[in-house]
Symmetry: C2
Subunit: 353 residues, 2 copies
């Protein structure tokens, strides 16, 4: 039996985890890394089946540092005819720099406090969100194939335009990281005058500054590639804190309570893990055979906050039309149907029994 | 055998935990709460031995919301002749308002995401820092007794002047809380335009906003009582974030990396749990019989970052002098000795075998 073939470029924490998750799904995985020792370790530990390049890889995952992604992706595109994706935390600049419809940006929202190949784990993506950033040029079959593979890792696919992804991760990832670091640094400065300070740091402070213990080396690239969105989100936070400062200075109890209550409610509503199969409905959407239609549909799902558990395309016998079949959370079925109809689709929604 | 008697006013999460910790150490505990149902529950669950007041309580812990502490403390001081302490997170205004040497402010740096009596736990304070805020008027025997009781709960005593405590918790507790709430609120505002936003919130964002899920009702009091220190610490954070913003906007990679590296090193140095007995030395400090000398010594220990595992006072036969005996972490023994000598004490340091 012939195994599906994939390649992974960059065998760190995420690349190693992707390789292990692929192997767990039966793929043949060829890996490459800038560090030959790490390549040999990956081979010895069974993280990859082979070391080097694989011109016949159906999918190549580029898991290098952000600054190297575009060059490695172009190299992989020249080497073979497969689909190429990446796992970096900034997307618009990379998608632009690669400039090829066979490149589909990706970003698994997962990680751990461990670093490097030793922390790699086939289960790392279970229940995590994996963003894909298709453009109108992305072939539907490419998107559907990659979405299926990522779903097989246990991840939930969220499709977003590259620029939108970058603006959103600035708010929920990049700025929180910079804030944790700033808070830690300020506490540290104070601790020079008073050694007791850091002993007073209870669980809340430890939780808030945990991400500041991550490796700093990746951040100059991220901040350079996503500068505009990060500066805008930082300005928003600075403005929000200045409002909070004024509320405290004025002793405005009502405004303070309202702000904290809203934050508490929002925290309680932070979406959890992927919905269980019992809560899913099947949405069937007949689609014309034109490029980008799948990207349009899945991006609409993300914009409406509709979680997608599975995506598949069935082509009709005539070949000029197909049906997109999506499993989405039941309570959002009608919302999604409304959005699709507004865009000119004619979907049907069916409850799974 | 006569049991030591204590009282606990306010039977919520912390008050209930104090009652359970006292009972585990063999104390007879009388509890009172504004809610009669909760009093009965505490009695039925064995959290307290009796409900009501106890004029013969040797120590009374006031564990009510911050705004009620001063009145309850004065009431307890009038009722009996014992020592009175509290567990609130702001100290200077309360110590001033009570204005009695038998009142010694306290603040255990512990808690949980649970609320109320149901979350109470005798082990809550194990390994936690418990701040005591003696003033020059605090009797040494009162301080030593309370420090001993708190140590018996497994907590580490840190002595700080009330104002210093308030400035430090603004940095490590109050401002982090307000920041988590602000960050959560901003993300929530963005999520109104884009429902996918909160699905992208990975572990780091969840960690950072966890404290925003706490009960908002306590914060208007805390912000009112500790307004000056909170506003100052918020201004510091706003300034730090503005610097960070400029570094990102200018693309200054070196400055960004340096800031993140410093934050990472500081995070790695966050003090952990109490040192093990093997790492302790015994410091003996002959002291004159004057009020406030124990407060001076323990506050000096906190200022020097010296962890204290135990404190005891031995009085000499002549009665006008005594010896303070402290167990402190071995690696800080010489530092502490130097500080004590600079203040005119003549300590001896001995390694425990």
């Amino acid at each position: 039996m012939k195994r599906d073939r994939a390649a992974v470029i960059g065998l760190g924490l995420i690349g190693g985890s992707v390789a292990l998750a692929l192997k767990a799904q039966g793929w043949h995985v060829t890996g490459r890394d800038a560090d030959p020792d790490r390549e040999q370790q990956a081979l010895a530990d069974g993280v990859v089946d082979a070391v080097g390049d694989d011109a016949s890889a159906e999918i190549t995952f580029v898991a290098t540092p952000v600054r190297a992604v575009a060059a490695e992706a172009r190299r992989a595109l020249e080497l073979g005819r497969g689909l190429v994706t990446d796992v970096g935390s900034v997307k618009a600049s990379v998608v632009d720099a690669v400039g090829d419809a066979r490149f589909l940006g990706g970003h698994p929202m997962a990680g751990s406090e461990q670093e490097g190949l030793d922390g790699a784990d086939a289960q790392m993506f279970e229940g995590a969100v994996w963003v894909l950033t298709p453009t109108p040029a992305t072939p539907d079959v490419a998107f559907a194939r990659l979405a299926g593979v990522v779903s097989s890792f246990g991840a939930e696919v969220v499709a977003l335009p590259p620029e939108r992804h970058d603006a959103l991760v600035a708010v929920v990832s990049h700025v929180p990281h910079l804030t944790a670091a700033t808070m830690m640094r300020l506490a540290d400065e104070r601790s020079e005058e008073h050694a007791a300070l850091l002993r007073l740091a209870a669980g809340g402070f430890r939780d808030m500054t945990r991400i500041a213990s991550g490796h700093p080396a990746i951040w100059p690239d991220i901040c350079a590639e996503n500068r505009t969105a990060i500066v805008e989100a930082l300005d928003g936070l600075i403005g929000g804190l200045a409002e909070m400062r004024d509320v405290v200075a004025k002793g405005d109890r009502g405004a303070l309570l309202a702000a904290l209550q809203r934050a508490r409610a929002a925290r309680a509503n932070l979406p959890g893990r992927v919905a269980r199969p019992a809560d899913l409905v099947e949405v069937r959407i007949p689609v014309p055979d034109r490029p980008g239609v799948l990207a349009e549909i899945t991006t609409l799902a993300a914009e409406l906050g509709v979680n997608t558990a599975d995506i598949e395309i069935a082509h009709s016998a005539e070949g000029d039309r197909g049906v997109v079949i999506m499993l989405v959370e039941a309570r959002k079925g009608e919302l999604f149907r409304g959005g699709l109809m507004a865009r000119g689709f004619r979907p049907s929604v069916q409850r799974l029994t």
